[in-house]
Point group: none
Chain length 202, copies 4
DNA sequence: CATGAATGAGAATTCATTCAT
DNA sequence: TATGAATGAATTCTCATTCAT
């Protein structure tokens, strides 16, 4: 009996795939990579462990995709801001502020993806992701230098420093959730720091 | 009559302790906490697994010591610089440059200690260590603001951003060892970034 | 669509659970709790160590169940006898005789359960089990005292002494299996001892 | 250089041996065989682990001696009572009462020796010790039967039952130390039980 | 094609025993 | 001779991955 893969079936397949990714994302967000076992992903997604392996050949591959898709999404948002209107300085401030605000809403996820290693494959993907983040900032740095808004500086290092600066500044309040300063003030301080760092004028 | 513990024996004991710490440090530097199993520490240190437990009551305690001793050492060096002579700006530049140069020599370790989580006990120690690093920079920031060298800014956020910025900027070249720019130029770029970020004048 | 768990599968699951319990029971019977490692249970049951942990969350829980289920079974039998017809004395004799005969068939197990401690959790369960045994005998003692068959005496101590007496008398012949007197005579002697101890008249 | 083993040295040797035995006894009394590791024995005795092995070839041998010497001591006391003056019944009551009172003073030790097994060698010794205990009671049983004080009964079984009865009755209060009945009343109840069991008349 | 029970290598930790000093 | 550091096999438990149903 020949099987026809119906549209319905196709849909279910990609729905399952999405469910698995969502479950993995949620688990990492709630408890880090440590809490994200295949068994847990199966439980949260409502599928079996065997089913996970139908959609992803290994745990590494699954989490590399979780990581890259989340980062790609963030990068799209940042890119839209960086490629938008306004001065380079305005765009940089807006991009940093946007990332910081989003990270403060879903804290552990941002931390895990940016800072937490898992196994070597995921680690390799994480490094590529950080580079992707950096690339967005490189563009606005180049634009600012071209227009004379920013002084001459290393684009590579500047971009990495920006990513590192706001990552680190965001990680700490995340870890002591209680008694943190207002998120507004935190975002503002991070943005000011990056602004001064690249601009040199206040 | 109890036998005197000979000086030779004493020396071997502390030598073994140091060997265990060195082995643990090396394993973390090469492959992160993931690669640092007790078995691996035993193999690299040339001792048995049981011997590890004569010197350290648990894996957690061992790695907390690895972490805190490394960080304490770095903090001492930074503190000496920050408490030295010169303008706040000069001292900040010197501190960042010193850390960056040292990190480039023993690369992965710095990252693993700053960014990589392990088990809850080590994680708790790691958070304290990050705070210690930040504290050093807070002092120079306060000094610069008091003397009017630096504009008014958030000391907490600024310190975290500095730590994050140079950590991130150092991690990337470390991970793609080939084709990196000259270390000198890298250090210079990082220092300039932090300098502008806190000072606002060039 | 979730698949139905077939009756066959259901059966295999409870069969495995039973196999694990049986293997644990056998190992305790043959060599005491000392000989009953998880590895040994896995070997004897024909499963892997990991499989044991699908059915029982820890070694303690497994052995607590082995212990309590065996004791509960014995207690049911004794309770049925003690709550049956006849004089208190007849029921006491029947209960002791029944336990003794059963113990002589599966010897070491009864002893290990009554006398041998293991880890704290199992030990706690063991104490509760001894109390359960004692409770059965307390009832018949109270009945006999109420009816005037037995002289006034401590119910608590009497019950404990009965359990201890037949346990000890059964343990020795069990351990030197060769050359033992006839089981019949042994059971008779134990029953007579307990009978005299509580009744005081022959 | 030929060594002369001086009297002083001889004394120290047997003193050390005694210290080791005392340390082992104390540890078993306080925490059972579980707490009695060779390292712990070394610590408590003030000797090194290596020294333990100069006096005892293995842990088993050490604890077999701890066990047998303690039991031998109890047996001597019981034997003196059993071989003393008075009716068989009086001597039996006195012996049981003596053992019970002593056990209540140093409870864990008696329990560990009577009920708790360790490794196979110690276990074998424990069984022999119980037999030794039983032998004492066999003598008084025989004496009582010969004089017509006790009815005809199995000496072997009776002795075992007596040992089991008072052991069990003593073990329980030991384990729930709080809220126990008065020791006096407990001893009395145990003695009465054994008395009735062998004598048949009140 | 989905299921989830089973696998088994590997992790941290313990401890009786040995042997270089 | 006494020491106690070192050994290493054994223990309990975890989890990514497979495969019979």
């Amino acid at each position: 009996m020949a099987y026809q893969r119906s549209a319905l079936m196709q849909e279910r397949l990609s729905e399952n795939r999405a469910r698995i990714l969502a479950a993995a994302r949620q688990l990492v967000a709630e408890g880090g990579f440590r809490a994200a076992s295949i068994t847990a992903v199966a439980r949260v997604s409502g599928l079996s462990t065997g089913a996970i392996y139908r959609y992803f050949p290994s745990k590494s591959v699954l989490f590399v995709e979780v990581l890259t898709s989340a980062v790609a999404h963030e990068c799209e948002i940042l890119t839209a801001i960086v490629d938008g209107d306004g001065s380079a300085r305005e765009r940089l401030r807006a991009a940093v502020a946007s990332f910081a605000r989003r990270a403060l809403k879903g804290p552990h996820l941002a931390f895990a993806f940016i800072a937490e290693p898992a196994d070597p494959d995921v680690e390799a993907a994480r490094i590529l992701c950080r580079r992707d983040f950096g690339d967005v900032f490189k563009r606005v740095l180049r634009a600012g230098m071209a227009s004379g808004e920013f002084p001459k500086q290393s684009v590579d290092v500047g971009a990495a420093c920006i990513v590192g600066a706001f990552t680190e500044a965001l990680v700490r309040p995340v870890e002591h959730a209680g008694g943190r300063r207002s998120d507004q003030a935190l975002v503002r301080a991070i943005v000011d720091f990056c602004d001064r760092a690249v601009g040199g004028t206040d």
